[in-house]
């Protein structure tokens, strides 16, 4: 056993829809401005009782059902999130309990690149411990966006996506790449609530518990680093960009995605995009898009599937898989 098959997948999004028309009215801007700015028509937002963990549990349960497994079959649970259930303990602990996971549980916080980071961790883990792994990306960034912050509010949505990795003889991964640039911590941040700035009445009054974004820096770095990671992964795999069957990027902003396609030579027809209906769901965006593509029968045996993400920090990563009947 040296590889893995993806034997289950699932997603969960809240029922509540926040349309760009709603936000246009809230912020006094034209709806078309929002759509042209990011390509997002609507996004989902959690309601009372819905949390990062509850969405993760829902998506995780669907992935387990698809794989024909229960939590008792899972050796390791990995939850990628940047909007944890609470500061402590880890979100994965809550998910572990709800799903009855038999084995270990840990979180990965690499912001919107978290799912790709988590998948690389899972790939390594399954080589040394060939037993099933449940990997979930779940985020609720509508709760960290200041309701008065137009630039962030138009982007974010809530959701979760999950996959089950089962040990397999063949390695489906052609190449992967991870990276980070810690000099970019100011581009997208939540200042208060950690050891550097513990929460106080003042931090709450000043709104420092909300996320702050420098959209220009994020755009530039997202394009720069995602183009870099895609090129490195394709080069290492000795695969031409035009030969990639499906590109599933982090669903942040259609203009970032289009720029990445343009600069890498990836085919627009290969793009799997659903941000127009879910917005930027952070760690969840790639597994949600993967789940929809699989459920639609869009991914077939032998297809080359490229996952590519970037997140605050900055962090980035990409993985090229050859899909297989055993995988699906």
């Amino acid at each position: 056993m040296n590889g893995f098959d993806i034997t289950g997948w699932g997603m969960a999004v809240p029922e509540r829809v926040v349309s760009s028309k709603d936000l246009a009215q809230r912020f006094g801007v034209d709806e078309n401005w929002i759509v042209s700015r990011c390509g997002i028509l609507e996004r989902r937002a959690v309601g009372p009782g819905q949390t990062t963990a509850s969405l993760a549990v829902e998506a995780g349960r669907r992935a387990l059902d698809k794989a024909g497994l229960t939590g008792g079959d899972i050796a390791h649970l990995i939850v990628a999130t940047a909007t944890p259930e609470q500061p402590s303990p880890a979100t994965s602990a809550f998910v572990h309990h709800e799903l009855g996971i038999a084995g270990s549980a840990h979180d990965v916080n690499s912001e919107c690149a978290g799912f790709v980071y988590g998948l690389v961790q899972a790939m390594a883990l399954i080589k040394i411990d060939p037993r099933p792994i449940l990997l979930i990306g779940s985020d609720t960034h509508t709760l960290t966006a200041n309701p008065a912050d137009r630039d962030l509010s138009i982007l974010v949505g809530d959701g979760a996506g999950a996959i089950v990795l089962a040990p397999a003889a063949e390695d489906r991964v052609l190449a992967w790449n991870l990276g980070a640039d810690g000099s970019c911590t100011g581009s997208l941040k939540v200042l208060a609530g950690g050891s550097r700035m513990p929460t106080t009445e003042d931090t709450v009054r000043e709104g420092l518990h909300y996320a702050q974004i420098n959209g220009n820096e994020i755009y530039l770095n997202a394009v720069r680093y995602t183009v870099r990671t895609v090129r490195e992964t394709l080069t290492n795999a000795k695969v031409d960009a035009a030969d990639v069957s499906h590109v599933i990027p982090h669903q942040a902003n259609i203009r970032i995605i289009n720029s990445i396609l343009s600069h890498t030579g990836l085919r627009p027809e290969a793009l799997v995009a659903n941000l127009h209906k879910y917005g930027n769901t952070a760690s969840a965006s790639i597994p949600i898009a993967l789940t929809e593509a699989l459920d639609e029968g869009r991914i077939n045996d032998g297809d080359l599937v490229l996952l590519a993400g970037f997140g605050a920090g900055m962090t980035w990563g990409s993985i090229l898989l050859r899909w297989d009947g055993g995988t699906a």
Partner: protein, 84 residues
């Protein structure tokens, strides 16, 4: 590679934004079809084309409704390394 002309920069910005015409002396914020993400896309292309010029997003950090492409161009000129 030498510094591009301001007309070349205007042409590059037209290409990435889809704007019909970029007048170097018109405030950037007043040019239809050009927004801040277009400027970042143009900057990304510029950085790749002219890696010897240390231009970054600070070129646009204090942009206001009077800032023109010519103003940005003058900032770029200041960044060009002196010839050895």
């Amino acid at each position: 590679m030498s510094l591009p002309t301001i007309e070349e920069l205007a042409g590059q910005l037209e290409a990435v934004s889809g704007a019909q015409k970029v007048d170097p002396d018109q405030p950037l914020q007043h040019i239809a079809d050009v927004d801040s993400l277009d400027l970042m896309e143009w900057l990304y292309g510029f950085q790749n084309q002219y890696p010897h010029i240390p231009a970054d997003e600070s070129l646009f950090a204090d942009i206001d409704d009077t800032t023109t492409l010519r103003v940005v161009y003058d900032r770029i000129v200041q960044l060009v390394p002196a010839q050895a």
